[in-house]
Symmetry: C2
Subunit: 143 residues, 2 copies
């Protein structure tokens, strides 16, 4: 469903939501070690996410990545969209040009209701929502 890049991005963002903030920035090296994603790989993703305002960063000594309140209130879907594009999730399961009730492919009736529900949740739940689940031990990040 999600690319590796999206999974890594999500892990990094949620990790930062829990463990970093404006006065406690984290360097790529530490993030990489804690979420177990190759340094150079996650670095590239973090830069993209920073540019797109999913998270914040500052350069130079004492610099690093963090996530502020504004960042936290963004929907999970936005991260997926930036990295994979919404199409990856929303497009027709059999690659019909466009997916709708009017000219549905044979899988549409089977998957669309579930998929719509899933998309609605990814669009309504925010980074903060999921970070809370982690904090309350209702969910756990992959090592």
């Amino acid at each position: 469903m999600l690319s590796n890049s999206s999974k890594y991005a999500l892990k990094a963002v949620l990790f930062l939501a829990l463990h970093a903030n404006e006065n406690n920035k984290m360097m790529v090296k530490d993030i990489s070690e804690r979420i177990n994603v190759p340094k150079a790989y996650i670095a590239k993703l973090l830069q993209e996410l920073s540019k797109r305002r999913i998270l914040s960063s500052t350069k130079g000594p004492k610099g690093g990545f963090y996530i502020n309140e504004a960042n936290k209130n963004q929907p999970i879907m936005k991260i997926i969209d930036i990295i994979d594009g919404k199409k990856r999730i929303e497009s027709c399961a059999l690659s019909l040009e466009d997916c709708n009730e009017h000219i549905p492919c044979p899988l549409h009736a089977l998957i669309n209701p579930s998929r719509s529900k899933m998309i609605a949740l990814l669009e309504s739940k925010t980074i903060n929502d999921l970070a809370m689940d982690l904090k309350l031990n209702k969910a756990f990040l992959p090592v």
Copy 2:
């Protein structure tokens, strides 16, 4: 969600369910043209599906692919499993080793109910079920 190969396989199987049978076999060339998938590519997939008894085939002149009643009563999921492996659909969205309620990743609560529903449908609906939808113009195959 599905690989290109799975999509092509599904298209081919459903196409055969509608347009071929034991006395009216279809050659790779015609299938390829009608479902708009490269000949050499769909040939390889058809061979695999034939070996795994999703469809039937005979060699030589007057030979070709077709699909009989036994073939038709198999669940859609079996095709996906043969081509992609169930893991592609069932595994954790964030790549946790195993996906369950006990140690869920942060996305589990958002996606698992929908995904379970979808999987149940893919496992209960048969090739014949979807072929019927096509026959009744309730669904349409991508060109």
